[in-house]
Amino acid sequence: MVRKIFVIILLIGLGWFFYGMADSFHGSDSLNMTASYYAENGAEEVGAANLVTAIVVTYRGLDTLGEVTILFLTAAIAAFFLKSKEEFSKRDVKPSSELLQTAAGMLVPLIFVLGVYVFVNGHLSPGGGFQGGAIIASGLVLLLLSKPLQKVNSRFFALVESFSGLFYVGIGVAGIFLAGGFLDNSILPLGEFGTLLSAGILPVIYILVGLKVGSELSGLLTKFQETQEEN
């Protein structure tokens, strides 16, 4: 009882606090210095139609590298704890219905194409490497769901993931020698604004990030599937 009263008092206090904050909030009409710099010069300097992508990949490129590294660490730790079982294919699971198998055969290529579209067009439309990678991993999930005992080669995922990570860092280092610094955008020409081959190094980086994220998440899900014991 005392605890409930305490919780209610806490909620009322928090509500009062947040109400005060919301009441005194005034949206600012003008951007601050950094934001206005990005808004005015971003499209010109980077050449990307999607300004968010321009900020995430070029001005804040190191942050993206850090995020990819965190995702890599997560996948690596999960894979470390999920040891493979030899008697994997003897597992007794309910087979999928024929309808799902046929639909998966039709839809999986479509989903892969959608994922590639999302990360190739990252500098023109909403989307980018992370989203496209997640969509590609979802396509693999559909494949695994339709055929639960399917063997998927996880070495392939590891290979794709390592090489895309390596190329990402390599492009960053190439920026030091060929342009202004690490992950500099201007080692490729900016091209025509709003077309597919524009914005310098940005589409290349997003393709690499998309491949890396997609293969990492696919590898993680495959590990879960492969090491499943009989239930």
């Binding site: 999607n50 968010v52 992508t53 999302v118 909403p126 989307g127 980018g128 992370f130 989203q131 997640a134 969509i135 991993a137 979802s138 999930v141 998440l217 993680l220 899900l221 879960f224 599937q225 090491t227 499943q228 014991e229 239930n231």
Partner: protein, 82 residues
């Protein structure tokens, strides 16, 4: 007018789904409710004209994390209950 109604509706649904996700004792229901929170929040982000964030939230928050949760639940459940 419609914009205010959309934002209020999404907020109510997000709050209700979050409370259900915390309060329920069934793990399946909890995970689906958490997915619903992401779904509605993603429509909210799109409404606040942030399509990048909306797509990330839909693809990762609502889609892939739900799928990974179910794979993990499938691994940890026992032989006869669940």
């Amino acid at each position: 007018m419609l914009s205010v109604i959309i934002i209020i509706a999404l907020t109510i649904l997000v709050l209700a789904a979050a409370i259900l996700a915390v309060q329920t004792t069934n793990l399946v229901v909890a995970v689906i409710s958490a997915g619903l929170v992401s779904l509605m929040a993603s429509v909210g982000y799109l409404f606040l004209s942030a399509p990048d964030v909306a797509m990330t939230e839909a693809a990762i928050g609502s889609g892939l994390s739900t799928i990974i949760f179910f794979y993990v639940l499938n691994r940890v459940r026992g032989k006869d209950h669940g």
